[in-house]
Symmetry: C2
């Protein structure tokens, strides 16, 4: 029998390399749905108890007793909270794409009018809200959301609107990513009035400066590119990029003393971390991580690599971090200077969300970490300091809530 | 003015190097007391609740409801538990240096007679107990303990005695480390009948093959050196050494399928880990670690290094791991094959001890981790599978206890 085509090793090797490239390109384009399919499902054996009706008291490690109250219920997957100078709290309902107001402790049953059409759903919808640093003068609110585009696509948009005390006026996108971007995003204004926007990035696109995914962007208040952005003179790079190599930034917080921007990054199965964001720096995803793929293998062979910036805090197992704030108030004095981080679930086990407190020494090195509110079993999506010096946490459930944390017995 | 002695740079450099060597030698000799002084004290703000009188029911993530009962109380810092073929459980009381018996669920008020003089106290005393693999024939028990020596020194000793059903007879040391060694130790017989002894090592002595500290030893059942130990032909090395570069091995468990010996290693502030122990391998302490010094700085610049073996499980924050067993029973079928690890406290916060369950995939890679018994707030020092298929955990308190974990409602 005559063999018409017999592949030699010299032919097979390039073929193999081509296949490898294609598979890598495909993995870089992995969708949220595809990731979800790879996440092993644990049966929800531990029920989430109903949130308590009365305030609940807890002792905490530093000797400070706290009281936790539910101040608003019935919120659909609350994603972020912004407090306005008059005390009003605005809460984004992610999946429903609605903005809600809490005034003097009462949740307005009517959603805020004036928002554009939003593509809500699993892991997307109405995302972060921040007031302009000079909100008292200009009443400007900034919002990130998933925007429906042509051909069933969506993109991430940064919206700016004027708050008239009841609704959003003149809402306009000041920045659009275009299609194929979205899912999770946080906003922060720095001391210089520049706006940071985090963009979700699941795969190797986080390393490509020509793409927005897996980046933190730095914009002017009008959504333009500041002239001193790190990659404005780099050929092929998006000039909006401030930092890159991120998986999913789920929190941005300015350090109260240094002013440095801390970024909270959610890993897969393990690999949650906090990074100090510095212009032009590569934080390494997906080439370094202390995380595992959901199926078990390590995400990367290396935990560190030259040229890739190291985090300053790690979690293993992961707690699915989301939301972060430094406490600077006086109501909970023993927690002053401590960092609070929300957790959606711990160790890939459902109904294990909680709030974590991290204490640092004078050099910014971690010395202690406490789990709080573990018995509530809520997915904590965000944590904020109110103007009253209390902490506020978002319970991200279908029937979600706002929790207030203050001193006990006062 | 005439300068009689002007040190040149050529003189200062060797002087500096000598000082460096002295300071390193001193740090290698750091005592437990000195380490304790460096550990920042958190005020015990969260009280440890009394252990429940009635069995307590818990839902767990896999959908398996469990029931936890206290089967023995009033044990002084229980360190290990060994079950004999007749069902008797022997428990070591570390600080008091006593061995106690639980027969048919009842703790004998009298300690076991026949033990030698033991130096008990903080982190030392009567440590691990294991029966000989052929205990049914020879009734031999093996015990590690801190032995008082001349000049107020102590050393670690491995004791062998014959159990006569009530007391220990003919108890004799089969191995002695000599002075300056001790504090924590675990024992394990492998399938070939060889005895593994873990030796505490806080500093760089863990890297010196001429020392026993920071090692796992491999001995015959008579305390002699097996001919095939990895360093028997290495000049200057202690021939008992099996693995090195350990900080504090707090658990040894054979994998039920592979037979490999898993070692549980307690890190400082972070850095708890599990290693698979292989002959002659260096596990890197103190040159690689995911832990921090108690004061905050990272233990080491690197998390990994060529030639140093990587752990397969990490904790960050640490839970102060102690005690480990694979569950192979039938009473808790949804946990079959899972690994159970005790935790003394989490994130350097008092009263946060608990039990952890780790699930692995078929390749031995972690996919899920659950915290159990968190509300009890007990320091879990050890975890064991009983011949009845239940799990047993040691609560290491001044007034400690043995907990039994079985299915709920049966």
């Amino acid at each position: 029998m005559k063999i018409l085509f017999r592949p030699s090793r010299l032919v097979l090797l390039p073929l193999y390399l081509i296949c490898l490239c294609i598979s890598q390109a495909l993995s870089a384009q992995e969708t949220l749905e595809a990731i979800l399919q790879r996440v092993p499902k644990a049966p929800p054996g531990v029920p989430v108890p109903p949130l308590p009706d009365a305030p609940r008291r807890y002792d905490t490690a530093e000797g400070q007793a706290i009281e936790v109250s539910v101040i608003a219920r019935g919120l659909n997957h609350p994603y972020s909270l912004a407090q306005l100078p008059d005390g009003t709290m605005l809460v984004s309902e992610r999946d429903k794409g609605q903005l809600r107001a809490i005034r003097e402790g009462v949740l307005d049953p009517e959603p805020i009018a004036g928002l554009p059409t939003i593509k809500g759903g699993l892991w997307m919808g109405l995302l972060d809200i921040v007031p302009h640093p000079r909100f008292v003068e200009n009443h400007l609110l900034y919002i990130t959301y998933d925007k429906p585009l042509e051909n069933n696509a969506t993109g991430l948009a940064v919206l700016r609107g004027v708050w008239d005390g009841k609704s959003l006026k003149d809402a306009q996108d000041i920045f659009n990513t275009g299609p194929g971007v979205g899912g999770s995003s946080r906003l922060l204004f720095d001391n210089a009035g520049l706006l940071y926007v985090s963009i979700y990035g699941g795969g190797e696109e986080a390393q490509k400066l020509s793409e927005l995914r897996g980046k933190v962007l730095r914009l002017t208040e009008d959504g333009k590119v500041p002239k001193d952005n790190p990659f404005v003179n780099t050929t092929g790079a998006r000039p909006e990029v401030f930092t890159y190599g991120h998986r999913t930034i789920q929190g941005l917080a300015p350090h109260p003393e240094t002013g440095a921007i801390w970024g909270l990054e959610m890993g897969p199965n393990g690999g949650d971390e906090i990074n100090i964001l510095k212009a032009g720096v590569n934080y390494g995803w997906p080439f370094v991580s202390l995380g595992r793929d959901y199926a078990g293998p390590w995400q990367a062979k290396d935990f560190k690599k030259a040229g890739l910036e190291d985090p300053i805090v790690y979690w293993m197992p992961s707690i699915s971090v989301s939301g972060m704030t430094f406490y600077t108030g006086d109501k909970l004095p023993l927690w002053k200077g401590d960092l609070f981080v929300g957790g959606l679930r711990m160790g890939e086990i459902p109904a294990t969300g909680h709030l974590q407190r991290i204490r640092f020494n004078a050099n910014g090195e971690e010395i202690r970490r406490e789990q709080l509110l573990t018995d509530l079993r809520q997915r904590i999506r965000g944590v904020y300091q109110g103007s009253d010096g209390f902490l506020y946490a978002l319970a991200d459930e279908e029937d979600g809530a706002v929790l207030r944390i203050g001193p006990a017995g006062k």
